[in-house]
């Protein structure tokens, strides 16, 4: 059995930031990452980030991952990194079971930070299981990590930021995007991203949804149709699109299995993407010693995931008695940063969601 002070499940922006901030206060941490590489969603993001200076705005996602890894170097003796390490379970006695390089391993940490991110939602329509129907994140992974095109002609379902950005990235890879559709009457993503794909000649059809996919062994086409103001499909508005890939980008939901297993109090909050854990202002859940940060705490952005990671990191470390002299000041700084990140119109939804799951007092 391996012991450590703080175990961090997930090596994305939230997990890495948590490791850095906890180690900077003096705690001993272990990062457990399922993938062979650290960085989570960041390593496949080729676009420049929005946000403010402190969260590396206008730096490309994969470069941010590198910056975080370099920062971790400073605390080498405090941070143990396990890649190819999938956490399988989190038990009542606080033991984590892990598959590490095909071997079974157990770890008993004093505190746990869960930073597992989120997984892509799905959509139901006839033939939605055909090969060639991929999540937007999958398409991004295939292209930007492995350099492989998903196909030649794509229908993008969902005009949120991810749908828009991945559409642009598809074009950069030399793939045609036939249309971007969204069931809502307006585009969900930022205007800058929408204008970029429009300028490149891709139609964005709002109040449209997919009626069915066509094909026998894989996608050969798609039929889309228009929705009325009550979101009901309008007969006769069907259009056939000649595509070999349908990309689904209809949002993410937090990957919360461990929190359920540990018995954390959970609540369904649509604004945050699904079920999330009730937490206090230090990001500690209702189970003593289990903290959360990033998309698993509510689907948001890498910028806020990184600040939440820093916050959870210092809170976990401080609960072990580290950094008493700097803790309050850092905590105030991170809390302020989160507030300013969430000050825009998109942030308002997040703030409303968070107000339903954040309890003022720390759990006893």
């Amino acid at each position: 059995m391996i012991t450590t002070e703080i175990a961090i499940i997930g090596g994305g922006p939230a997990g890495l930031s948590a490791a850095i901030s906890a180690a900077s206060l003096g705690a001993k941490v272990a990062i457990l990452e399922r993938d062979g590489r650290l960085g989570g969603q960041l390593i496949k993001q080729t676009h420049k980030f929005f946000g403010s200076e402190k969260q590396y705005a206008s730096t490309r996602g994969f470069d941010i991952a590198k910056i975080l890894e370099e920062e971790m170097e400073k605390y080498k003796d405090k941070i143990d990194i396990y890649t190819n390490a999938t956490v399988l379970g989190l038990y009542e006695d606080g033991v984590l079971t892990i598959e590490h390089n095909k071997k079974y391993m157990k770890m008993k940490p004093e505190k746990i930070i869960v930073a597992t991110g989120a997984s892509e939602k799905f959509l139901s329509f006839p033939n939605n299981d055909l090969p060639g129907i991929y999540g937007a994140g999958a398409v991004q992974t295939l292209m930007n990590e492995y350099g492989v095109k998903p196909g030649n002609n794509v229908l993008m379902v969902g005009a949120g930021n991810i749908g828009l950005i991945v559409s642009y990235q598809l074009m950069q890879a030399g793939v045609r995007v036939k249309a971007i559709i969204d069931a809502a009457p307006q585009i969900g993503g930022y205007l800058v991203h929408a204008s970029k794909v429009r300028r490149a000649g891709v139609p964005i059809l709002v109040s449209h949804t997919i009626k069915r996919a066509h094909g026998k062994e894989s996608v050969e086409g798609a039929t889309i149709w228009q929705l009325d103001e009550r979101w009901q499909p309008i007969e006769g508005t069907e259009k056939y699109l000649d595509v070999d890939v349908i990309c689904i980008s209809v949002g993410l939901s937090p990957l919360t299995e461990f929190l359920w297993q540990a018995g954390c109090e959970m609540k369904y909050i649509p604004e945050l993407g699904g079920h999330v854990a009730i937490r206090d202002e230090n990001l500690e859940t209702s189970v003593n010693g289990i903290f959360i940060a990033g998309d698993v705490a509510g689907v948001e952005e890498a910028s806020s995931a990184m600040v939440e990671g820093r916050l959870a990191g210092i809170c976990a470390a401080n609960s072990l008695g580290y950094g008493d002299d700097r803790f309050e000041e850092l905590r105030r700084d991170y809390t302020e940063q989160l507030k300013s990140l969430r000050s825009g119109p998109v942030g308002a939804k997040i703030v409303s969601g968070l107000s339903k799951v954040t309890v003022k007092k720390q759990f006893a």
Binding site: T46, E120, F122, D129, P131, G135, G147, S218
Partner: protein, 103 residues
């Protein structure tokens, strides 16, 4: 279908080592750094198997190991998520029949 030109990324496909593997009895070639899924997709293989009950074709969906849509038999071991399994020289990848049995 590999990306040959890209405004931001460079994959240097020519410089990557070629990796040979067997898929359903035939020899295929991937590149160093590929997962089994990316190598198969680059070779034009989208159908990774058929559902054990209704026999409908299956492809990958999430590509990050979350959904289990991509299970295949690799070197005799069933139910391997090939979207997160690194491609290695000489691997034997097979379409899985049924639910897969542990030997």
């Amino acid at each position: 279908m590999r990306i040959e030109e890209h405004p931001i990324l460079s994959f240097e496909n020519e410089k990557r080592k070629k990796i040979k593997f067997i898929f359903d009895g035939k020899e295929y070639e991937g590149l160093e750094g590929d997962t089994i899924a990316s190598a198969l997709h680059a070779a034009g293989v989208k159908v990774l198997g058929h559902h054990y009950a209704n026999n409908r074709p299956r492809g990958f969906y999430c590509a990050i190991g979350n959904c289990s849509s991509c299970l295949m038999t690799v070197d005799g071991e069933p139910n391997v998520r090939i979207c997160v399994e690194e491609l290695k020289e000489g691997m034997v990848v097979e379409t899985q029949k049924g639910k897969g049995e542990l030997k």
